[in-house]
Amino acid sequence: MSQITAKQMGMTLCHDCKKLIAASAIESRDHYCPRCGAALHMRIPNSLVKTWSFLITAIILYFPANFLPIMTVEKLGSVTSDTIMSGVISLVQHGMWGIAAVVFIASVLVPLLKMISIALILISIQFQLQMSAKQRTVIYQVVAFVGRWSMLDVFVIALLVALVEFKKIATITAEPGATFFGIVVVLTMIAATTLDPRLIWDNRAES
């Protein structure tokens, strides 16, 4: 029984409590898991459509998130606005390479790679591309795991605006770019949860 899936045997795993349930229960009266009460589905319903819509919205909002300023620093009369990228650059100019790398990875690299990875997985499922299913599962797991770390910049702003509040001497205020950035992170996190990784393997079994 090396390559038999639960679906092929007419069984499904409860999304929430991971109990294995005969699929006849899904089609008949109970749509709910007898153990935990979660709605039962063979696969996440409309997984691809849902994931695409969250992903495309995220991609669109990724532009204002990066081009609009995320915060404004007012220091003794001089005003500078920072975007995500200009914040990283100014850290580099101050010689803070380590922290610049952390912020760059969390705020620029992770969201970008995450969106590319989800799009790649979606395309590979829809067009049944011959790619290693195991590798794609690993990519999915990494994407689902690292996504939340992109909230880093949002939290930094939340702290800075509270701390640097010295009226005319120095003040930091948050700007709309931060909102777009936060929404992008949330949307990509939702996209990862609506994507059913089992679809990667379903394709392979059929072809």
Partner: protein
């Protein structure tokens, strides 16, 4: 067929059907096809989760009422709590991002602690309290939305950014926050979902 002979399990990430195998403490089971971790039994999972969620709730209060960091600049001092940052964001008109920080750094971590305390209390006294299954399900869905460790990294980044312009002083809140962070990470690594669900199933019958 073999359906009635041995209990079966399926991999949540690739749907591979397998016979259920016994694993002991300290072992980790991987799916042979996609390598997803299928199970990792944890010793005294229930006791740990119960105790840790109580600890977390106790630490939650000072972590949020006491200042996390304070800044000295030209004789002026400004203190910041997690909540004051949220208020500042709200005041600058960014209510959406204020709400996001409020949820991920404050509300969801609190709800998670309450939910897991409720579930582990119910299982400890061996009585199915109302809506225990719903509580555990909500906890599982909310787990990734509690972002204390990301917030901690945010504190470090802010600290380094401000270090050369002003004096940054650690507040009592920071120590409590670090404690709260360790407790919540410990809960995530000590909770044995499989064991919890089987315990609930056992109480249901």
């Amino acid at each position: 067929m073999f359906l009635n002979q041995k209990p079966l399990i399926a991999c949540p990430h690739c749907d591979l059907l397998m016979e259920k195998f016994a694993i002991t403490y300290g072992q980790k089971a991987h799916c042979p096809r996609c390598h997803t971790v299928l199970g990792q039994p944890i010793k005294r999972s229930l006791e740990y989760t119960f105790a840790l969620s109580l600890t977390g709730l106790l630490l939650f209060i000072p972590a949020n009422t006491e200042p996390v960091l304070s800044l000295n600049l030209l004789g002026l001092t400004q203190e910041a709590t997690i909540f004051s940052g949220i208020v500042q964001l709200f005041n600058s008109g960014l209510w959406l991002i204020a709400g996001l920080v409020l949820l991920s750094a404050l509300v969801v971590p609190l709800i998670n602690l309450l939910l897991i305390l409720y579930v582990s209390l119910s299982l400890s006294i061996e009585i199915l309290l109302p809506h225990v299954t719903t509580a555990l399900r909500i906890y599982q869905h909310l787990e990734e939305w509690a972002m204390l460790e990301v917030y901690m990294l945010g504190i470090l980044v802010s600290l380094i950014k401000l270090m050369d312009t002003a004096d940054v002083v650690f507040g009592t809140g920071l120590y409590c926050f670090v404690g709260l962070l360790f407790t919540s990470v410990a809960i995530s690594s000590h909770i044995d979902h499989e064991d919890f669900w089987e315990h609930i199933e056992h109480l249901q019958t």
